[in-house]
Amino acid sequence: MKRTLLHALFLSALSAAYAFAKPPQVLSKTTKGNPNVKAIDVIGFAPQGVLLIGDGQGAQIVAVRTGDLALAQSLTKAIPSIDAKLAGVIGAKADGIEILDLAVNPASGKAYFAIRKQDDKSHLILTVDGKGKISEFSLEKVDYARISLAGGKNSISRVTDVAWADTQLVAAGRSADQFASKIFAINTPLSHDAKGNVYSAETYHVQHRRWETKAPMSVLVPYRENDRQYVIGAFSCTPVVKYPLDALKPDAKVKGSSVLELGSGNRPLDMFTYEKNGRPYVLTNTFRFHHKRKAFGPSPYWTVKFEQGILAEKEKVNEKALWRLKGYDPATDRVQIVEAFHGVRQMDKLGDGHALVLKEEKNGLTLTTLALP
């Protein structure tokens, strides 16, 4: 999964207390029935157990009230060959499904998997509870709000990420035949049949040393700094970029600040923020397609943590942004590879101290928890 984190860097005590005392309203107008999702590209969670489904084919985000609000014990024992087990409950072999995304419902600690059945291309949501029990979260009769991302010629064929950012829901999408990236934002609480405003993001790509407006974004993460809401974006060329959400105006370009370059030949997959020993960090797993030529670990899937303070950088941005590497050597100790996370294909934050991860093993994928580094 890609998101969850609503924890913030330098969140003032006042705003934290306010947020704690008055949880945000997630859904306003909803409807009941089957949202008829055409395809599930990504999933994520808003507060109060609201599942967010990114459906590029349907050009929509569907926000579903799961009712899954009882915080339960999280996964205590690793589940080997989870891909075969998830496939098994729908009568398929491991290669008969594709695990499209993983998200943890922060309200319950339960894992949600977006699954595509390969033979008939049906999409479904399976859940795994702390005891390892696999169930289906059926979309047949749910309370939901549909947010349209359609309209104009901004056709998208894929939602690359969706994230809840308190005052806004943010999504990134891309088209199958254009080199273009669109960011959509919708004011919250979400109302059924609302329409997402579309923005073009202008980004300084550290590697290119150029400004870009079209590079497709692969990961979105909400982030709050000094009581201002941002969204963090990551791209294939692995700059980590910060966009202020309050600057968004319909059909306008929003200018981001590149704050970190993770290195070429990697694609960020999931990202979230967390705190460890009172210090805030960001964790992101990436796929390295240069793995055979220059490996960063035993698997092309490797994970890096960096200090959240890098995101708050005011001076060292864009052409002065921090680089993780100089050549192939570490250029800073503020960004570190996390060896325990080698092989993690998908992950999400699980409580304050752990990540729930899908990790490559010899006999398939293992679902397990890892302590946050």
Binding site: V89, G91, D119, D177, Q178, R210, S236, C237, H290
Partner: protein, 354 residues
């Protein structure tokens, strides 16, 4: 046959009294859809997938329905072709009854093939950005595709890591868009500096689609597909409509409007980024046809052309093979100054007495 094929009651571990008949019944026309039926109102029904050694998988999701003196378990999702399943009835007295069922493989049918690849030209710019692969059937999605489709160099060796690994399929999964990694196309990007560009000018290449690419049902392609092409210099120019040639149709006729481009343009975008408007600014309905190597476009109206001024409107995001648009270059520094605004509409008036 299978329709009525009832299955195979096997073992009984507690056989003090006659066991109810347990059957797995395939639905009328689809052997992947089954009901597990037992002539009993009691006990617990389940269905599992068996692995190659005959070991049980987890219980399959589904619903139990009670029908008079019998009950049925109906799996929610279709079973897999060529796979074997076991149904079990656990009786209230501890009895255990099982039945197995093998889903027949699909009847032999024409395998999927690559019908066409765009760009269709045999000479491509060295900064060609994408390929569209059109298949004859819906295909199986999944990341494996990036290993199954390669670009071979002149020596027949695969070029490492040519693709941006984001799957972009059409809704019916018959068209795949493969992007050559933009980081290996754009100048000044570390990826290109480390790995080099995927394509070099004036070289021969083969786009090879392996037989391993499978259709949605899991069958491999009928045969592999090769597109041979040579590269020319990279294209760093915008596709400016002011350089296009328009041939006027005759008024009152259904003659096509023909446009020639000085270069190949993006096959997919040509379908939706050129529109014709009449003198009332209404969109003219008709059929379009894209010519060889995507260097021409023609439009046949549904109704005869009116003898008035028409406009061909061009979307500023129409791309050439290198991702350049009339408005901007693919490899553009936004701080390098503004480019002149392109012409994005061309007018024409169908000729009277042509």
């Amino acid at each position: 046959m299978l329709r009525f094929a009832l299955l195979l009651v096997t073992a009984s571990l507690a056989a003090k009294q006659p066991l109810p008949i347990l059957e797995i019944r395939p639905m009328a026309d689809d052997p992947t859809r089954v009901e597990v039926v037992v002539q009993s109102k009691e006990g617990r029904l389940s269905l599992v997938l068996l692995d190659e050694e005959g070991h049980d998988g987890p219980p399959i999701l589904g619903k139990v329905r009670h029908r008079g003196k019998s009950m049925a378990f109906i799996p929610k999702y279709g079973l897999g072709r060529g796979l074997r399943y076991r149904a079990t009835l656990l009786g209230p007295n501890g009895s255990r009854d099982t039945a197995t069922y093998s889903v027949p493989n699909l009847p032999r049918s024409e395998p999927a093939v690559v019908k066409q690849v765009y760009p269709s030209a045999s000479t491509l710019p060295a900064n060609n950005l994408k390929f569209y692969l059109h298949f004859s059937k819906p295909m199986r999605e999944g990341k494996a595709i990036f290993e199954q489709i390669q670009i071979l160099d002149n020596g027949g060796d695969p070029i490492p890591h040519p693709w941006r690994r984001v799957e972009l399929w059409s809704h019916d999964a018959t068209r795949l868009t493969l992007w050559i990694h933009p980081g290996r196309i754009k100048k000044g990007v570390n990826l290109r500096e480390d790995e080099g560009p995927v394509l070099h000018p004036n070289h021969r290449y083969v786009l090879l689609v392996s037989r391993k690419v499978r259709n949605a049902e899991g069958q491999p392609l009928g045969h592999s597909y090769r597109k041979e092409f040579v590269t020319c210099n990279p294209d760093y120019e915008r596709p400016l409509p002011s350089k296009w040639q328009i041939s006027n149709p005759g008024a009152g006729t259904l003659e096509p409007l023909r446009i020639r481009f000085p270069e190949s343009l993006d096959h997919s975008l040509l379908h939706r980024m050129l529109t014709i408007h009449d003198d009332q600014a209404k969109t003219v309905a008709g059929e379009l046809l894209i010519g060889p190597s995507e260097t021409s476009w023609s439009f046949t109206p549904k109704e005869p052309w009116r003898p008035s001024r028409h406009l061909l409107r061009i979307d500023h995001e129409l791309e050439d093979l290198a991702g350049n648009t009339p408005a901007r270059l693919f490899d553009l520094d936004l701080q390098a100054g503004n480019l002149a605004n392109p012409v994005l509409s061309l007018d024409f008036s169908p000729l009277q007495n042509k």
